[in-house]
Amino acid sequence: MNKDLISGVVLLAVSGTYYAWSSQIADSTLSDEVGATGLPHVLSIILAILGVLLIARAILLRRARTATAAGTDDDQDAHLPRAIGFLLLGAVYVFVLPFIGYVAGTALLIGAVALYEGAPRNWVVLAAAVGGAVFYWAIFVKLLGVHQPVGSLFQGMF
């Protein structure tokens, strides 16, 4: 199925969902003439029109047997599962951070990403992960004074 066609359908779906959500925005006595729903409604209509245009263009160009995927990257398409796997490492980091804290979490993230990206399984990965985590902890926590999560497992140790 044509990518532009799918994109157009997705835009229509986003537009419809956004419109439905915007209709649930509460009224306010302080509201002006346009109101809190004014812009959202206009934006959802514009997006719907653009979605329809994209679908129409995709169908017309398909009929004309013209290349329609200008600017798209098939290589990116093929590697989508791997890219999502990379992102999931970040999601796991966000999930475990409150429990194991910044230093351990960051060390795990650096190590996991390095291994996922093909680093050989040896002591260098461990050293880089621990060294990197301590380095970032020194910059963000000690130098910049940012309160990164200590971790419920290590509460009271720092």
């Binding site: 990518k3 532009d4 994109s7 959500w21 925005i25 509460a26 306010s28 302080l30 509201s31 002006d32 003439e33 346009v34 109101g35 809190a36 812009l39 959202p40 934006l43 514009i46 997006l47 653009l50 979605g51 994209l54 995927a69 200008a70 600017g71 798209t72 990257d73 290589d75 990116q76 093929a78 590697h79 989508l80 791997r82 890219a83 796997g85 990379f86 992102l87 970040g90 999601a91 966000v94 951070l97 409150p98 960051t106 993230l109 650096i110 190590g111 996991a112 990403v113 390095a114 996922y116 990206e117 680093a119 880089a128 990197g132 985590a133 970032y136 963000f140 910049l144 940012v146 999560p149």
Partner: protein, 498 residues
């Protein structure tokens, strides 16, 4: 009236030199860290200025601002991550030059264009602060609306060959900007009872998600491995190159001056507009987006100009034109300094320190920049597997710094996925970012205008500044559309011939 001897006194009797260098270095480091904006870099140093001499404290903050604006271009070029909002436009050609093995050249052009822009901005700051102060006062809600529309008008030429997709991306960006508390009535929109969404989605999250995370995912999924030449070193542009960049730097300086003077303008709009105009006036517009030196020089000259010229409305009337100048205003107030004409009379030393400190920082930028840049290149040249891990950890750490919120991390990761899917489908991300950055200003100023006029849209045609800005926006759009149709027609004819 400040005399030459006052300047000499400032340089010899106070440690202003060290304050300027320290502020610059801190600014470059902070700006180079993805997720840490110029304003955050300044805010982090603000508590340390509490016990300082007011003149030195304000000079320090001004120098941090200068450093951060330059520092933001370093990750923009090396890892496709704008360190600050205003360096987002530098990503386009800066990173492309990096991919072509010309990272050192791009960094050198960025550095020198930044110096040119900063010097021009400082000169304008000294010359125009008092005479042009009336302009900032003249801005009304319709003027702000005109400014926002002017910023959005560049989308037409940044759609990457598909205007529909560019407009759709911008619309989604505007939708993201509507999340949070309504600017007029105060009701919540699209927050789903999540407290973290009450303040809206920070533009920096969108930028980091769409630029940095998408790129990391892309490099992970791609079989093409980015390997920089280990011999890459900073290559300052030659005289002939500087001569070639003259036009784009001039465009950047002029638009940087314009946007710096404009409350709410900021470096982001100036950078994108100057990129757009540099492309329009270039002899080789076809190279833009493919590693054009002018595409790096114009936005860098612009955002560095803004770092100085944004101080004009701030010092004259206390109107902060950006987050960074808002922090600087906080510094002034913390030391009991009230911006305005009396500041020039009663605290002339503070003004002089800003001027002299900024000058020192700008000149020192070449040396300090060259010392720090090799370290950045070294970092990029580490094995990709480790580099990806370190960059990913740095980005997530930086995002957490914004609000100490894990929710922000989730938003950024989600936007990373959105950016990747947009890349697959051929949607440009820049219009979406512009939509997010300008959405709040456009909506709030539009509605405030209508409140003032009782719903009469003629208010936008009665305000001379708004009319001027909207006219320029219209001209931009018409030019961009005509060029797109011309290019499309040309391509069609070429295809027919072949």
């Amino acid at each position: 009236m400040t005399t030459f001897w006052d300047i000499i006194h400032l340089l010899t009797e106070t440690p202003l030199f060290f304050v300027a260098i320290g502020g610059l270095t801190w600014g470059i480091l902070g700006g180079a860290l993805p997720g840490i904006s110029a304003s955050i870099t300044m805010a982090l140093v603000l508590p340390f200025t509490y016990t300082m001499d007011p003149a030195q404290a304000i000079a320090l903050l001004a120098c941090v601002y200068i450093g951060a604006e330059y520092g933001g271009s370093i990750p923009a070029i090396l890892i496709r991550t704008p360190g600050t909002n205003s360096s987002a436009a530098t990503v386009i050609d800066g990173y492309e030059m990096n991919r072509q093995g010309r990272a050192g050249e791009a960094l050198g052009i960025s550095l020198m264009s930044g110096v040119v822009g900063s010097l021009f901005g400082l000169a304008m700051l000294i010359l125009l602060t008092e005479p042009l102060s009336w302009l900032a006062l003249a801005f009304t809600p319709p003027s702000y609306f005109g400014l926002g529309i002017l910023g959005l008008s560049v989308i037409a030429s940044m759609s990457g060959g598909s205007l529909i997709k560019g407009l759709a991306a911008a619309t989604v960006g505007l939708m993201i900007a509507t999340v949070g508390t309504d600017p007029i009535s105060g009701v919540t929109r699209f927050t789903f009872d999540i407290p973290d969404l009450l303040g809206g989605i920070e533009p920096v999250l969108v930028m980091v998600g769409l630029f940095a995370l998408t790129e990391l995912m892309s490099q992970s999924g791609s079989s093409t491995v980015l390997q920089l030449n280990e011999t890459i070193r900073i290559k300052l542009p030659s005289w002939s190159m500087m001569n070639k960049l003259k036009r784009s730097q001039t465009i950047g300086c002029i638009l940087g001056l314009f946007e710096g003077l404009t409350p709410g303008g900021g470096g982001s709009i100036a950078a994108f507009m100057s990129y757009n105009e540099a492309k329009r006036w270039s002899k080789t517009p076809q190279l833009f987006g493919k590693g054009s030196e002018e595409g790096v020089a114009a936005p860098e000259a612009a955002n560095n100009t803004v770092a100085s010229t944004a101080l004009i409305p701030l010092l004259s009337f206390g109107i902060p034109s950006s987050n960074s100048t808002a922090v600087l205003l906080g510094g002034l107030l913390m030391h009991g300094l009230i911006p305005g004409p009396r500041l020039f009379e009663q605290s002339a030393q503070v003004i002089d320190s800003i001027y002299v400190g900024s000058f020192i920082a700008i000149i020192a930028q070449i040396g300090v920049g060259m010392i720090i840049l090799p370290a950045c290149i070294w970092l990029v040249n580490r094995p990709r597997a480790y580099r990806a891990g370190f960059i990913f950890a740095l980005i997530l750490s930086g995002i957490f710094t914004l609000n100490n919120s894990l929710f922000d991390l989730g938003i950024a990761l989600a936007l990373g996925l959105v950016g990747y899917l947009m890349r697959i489908a051929g949607f440009p991300v820049l219009p979406m970012i512009l939509g997010v950055v300008l959405g709040h200003m456009v909506e709030s100023s539009y509605r405030r205008s209508l409140v003032l006029s009782g719903g009469d849209h003629m208010i936008f045609l009665q305000d001379p500044i708004a009319v001027c800005l909207l006219s320029i926006a219209l001209i931009f759009v018409v030019f961009s559309l005509s060029r797109e149709f011309r290019d499309a027609r040309k391509t069609k004819i070429e295809e027919a011939h072949s």
